[in-house]
């Protein structure tokens, strides 16, 4: 595969976030880069910073947990469901995607 330029990645990111935002029930989405800095967010600044801080460190714990159980394994995704909403964290090679959506019975962005 030919290496994608940074600009293409940026465009792809915008496109993905836009698609995600269109799903019913999505409250917000945040993209964090490898340095732990939120590069894109549909939430206000304060919420973005809070979610980024809390979930980045939780993600590291999840990664460690998986490695401790099996050193050859790797975290691919995690989903936190609470009474009021659901937080999805998807780590990737270059980014971490966080999506916050309402918990409901109907199929949501994550399931479709």
């Amino acid at each position: 595969m030919a290496p994608r330029g940074d600009r293409n990645k940026g465009v792809e990111l915008e496109e993905t976030l836009r698609r995600l935002g269109n799903y019913e029930g999505v409250i917000g989405s945040i993209v964090i880069n490898m340095e732990g800095i939120p590069v894109k967010s549909t939430l206000d600044n304060a919420s973005t910073v809070q979610y980024t801080a809390l979930l980045s460190s939780l993600m590291i714990q999840a990664k460690t947990m998986i490695k401790n159980l099996d050193t050859s394994d790797n975290l691919t995704f995690f989903r936190i469901r609470s009474e009021k909403n659901e937080i999805l964290v998807a780590p990737d090679q270059d980014y971490i995607l966080i999506v916050i959506q309402t918990s409901k019975e109907a199929p949501t962005a994550a399931e479709t």
Binding site: L69, L75, F77, F78, R81, S82, E83
Partner: protein
Amino acid sequence: MTYEGVKNYRAELEETLKRLSEHDGVQGLVVIDKEGRVSQTTFDQQYTKKILSNISGFTSQTRNVVRDLDPMNDLSFVRVRSNKTEILIAPEEDYILVVIQQPSQD
């Protein structure tokens, strides 16, 4: 609860856990009690220890994150997926149920 009641309860619990652990794709399960000790497990001792030491802490941390974001909110379920497994964590009032299964197909 009467003595009979307790026996029935335990039997029903074991039956449910057994059914769960025999479900397609399920590698095993662990029940962690309120004190953080293992009350039921279908894994060997070594793996169970690993699960206890890793998952209890992670579950508490996750719960803290939920409460930090909204003190009126509470954790109801966690699903952690990796290349090889999927860990389902159901934190209840008196115990934490952990089920480890094959990653579900998308």
